[in-house]
Amino acid sequence: MVQSKKERYGFLAFCLLPTFILFLIFTIYPLFSGMYYSFFEMSGSSSNKEFVGLANYVKLLNDEIFPHTIWHDYFLVITKVIGIMILATFFAVALTQLRIKEAPFYRIVFFFPNIMSIVVIGILWMFIFNPDLGLINSGLEALGLEDWTKAWLGDPDTALSALVLPSVWAGIGLFMLMLMGGILTIPKSFYEAATVDGANGWQQFWKVTVPLVWPQIKNSILYIVITTLNGSFIIVQVMTEGGPDNSTQVMGSYLYQQAFQRNNFGYGATIGVAILILSLITVLLLQKFMKREKIQY
């Protein structure tokens, strides 16, 4: 290709610079600036800030609510990983290993909640949990279990667990498809050989399917963990706003309330730094923990 250095750099700049400059301004700068804000006391506007050193971090360590928000986040992470992975794996195996005529129907239906707005999902599930009209209480009454009915989202003992259901409901489809993609690449002959060796369905699942789709399982778990730590506050904000009595407060919703509702922007940024650190540590640990030798048969 005949082209001068100047032309070459001109074209590269044309392709890369506008996007990269906007990326620096709207993604990278805010991240570092957020860390910087965490050393300031800011009320109302960015011009009104006073350097306070580590005071926000000291406040965070002594904050009685914050440890609960961390626990709530990890509770959601753990229950979502377990709930989604068990159901998604079951459905993925069922739809790939067994001949089911209507498999495409299930695939299309199960995936749909993945592209619904969290606002719609949250409001829909608020109805399902509604004490008077909701499906859950009506269902319990229909079964003659009136004693079990309660205000699921209004009771601090059940509110957080109640948030797990919509998250699992909305998440299954995507991970089922990811696992199905993995299972479909396993040659049929592996299962035939396992059958000849006398392995039953359950043994085949653990000895053939799981090791061979481990990359997909690992990616799915990582993705659930990341999206939960980075985004669990959205469904919390829609459904409970962290209540009742902070029983569903997660780190992100706490940040939102401190920063944008109470104008404690510096303290909010400190919570944000904690979220950043915790989620990076979690992801690194998980990656290390889930590393397995690549299996080849």
Partner: protein
């Protein structure tokens, strides 16, 4: 033989029943929402589960006019179309350069974009709030379009570079020998050949922007700027006092129908795009 048949039937049922139950669990709330949107409030209380007695659209009229969902729907369309187009304009040249031109730092830049997919951006929203405030783009649909586009650049670059890597290099060589400039090559050769990828990211991004809630909550303030997600959330807060559930159901339907239509048309592309995006996410 007989026991074997029974065993097989039991196995079949053991697998079918959970599949059917989960289908009901997914579809029932959605159908319930559609039915509820045609019911009066009295009817919702009297028979929350049943079919509506008459199909009346008054809930839709109230939601559209009294709650301003008409304006919000318009805002959502502006933000969705604007954000989607801007993302394409910004992502296509970058993806091409990162995928096809060797230059120093190209891997670093690519990894920088990718790592932004994994980092919690919520910390950045505080400074972003002040940044938008200072450049007069807070409570502004164009400001939200910019923020949205930038939030989807990493995903879009990731998917597009994947698509562009499958375009044969001979095409570019042939075009270069014909004396075509790189600019023309990008617009007249590469862009049309990447159309599948561009359409995929556009559908994914459009659904994302249409559904987005939290950034809109932070960066928009006045109700006439609300997108549908915010307007429906606002209706929900009101409904806790007014009990206007039928209207709220109508609002939810208005918010979800475009997504259902998109899914009906582009089901394959959407599932493929999302699973690929999640692999690296």
């Amino acid at each position: 033989m007989e026991t074997r048949r029974v065993k097989d039937a039991a196995k079949q049922a053991g697998i079918r029943i959970p599949l059917i139950l989960w289908s009901i669990a997914v579809l029932f709330p959605i159908v319930w929402m559609f039915l509820g949107s045609f019911k009066s409030n009295a009817e919702i209380y009297a028979s929350p589960w049943g079919l509506p007695e008459t199909w009346n659209f008054s809930n839709y009229a109230v939601a559209w006019f009294d709650y301003g969902l008409g304006t919000s729907a318009f805002n959502s369309i502006v933000v969705t179309v604007g954000g989607t187009l801007l993302t394409v304009v910004l992502a296509v040249p970058t993806s091409y350069a990162l995928e096809r031109i060797r230059f120093k730092g190209s891997t670093i830049m690519y990894n920088l974009y990718l790592s932004a997919m994994m980092i919690p951006l919520v910390l950045g929203w505080i400074p972003l709030f002040f940044l938008l405030l200072n450049i007069n783009l807070l409570d502004n649909l164009f400001g939200l379009i910019l923020v949205y586009a930038m939030s989807q650049i990493p995903f879009s670059v990731f998917i597009l570079t994947g698509f562009m890597s499958t375009i044969p290099a001979d095409l570019e060589e042939a075009a270069a020998i014909d004396g075509m400039s790189q600019y023309r090559m990008l617009f007249t050769v590469i862009t049309p050949l990447s159309m599948t990828g561009i359409i995929t990211i556009s559908i994914m991004n459009a659904i994302n922007f249409w559904n987005e809630y939290f950034m809109a909550l932070i960066f928009l303030q006045s109700s006439e700027k609300y997108t549908l997600a915010l307007a429906v959330d606002f209706m929900k807060n009101e409904a806790q006092y007014t009990n206007a559930w039928g209207t709220l159901f109508a609002g939810l339907v208005i918010a979800i129908v475009p997504v259902i239509i998109a899914y009906a048309i582009f089901q394959r592309r959407i599932t493929k795009g999302m699973t690929e995006g999640a692999v690296k996410g």
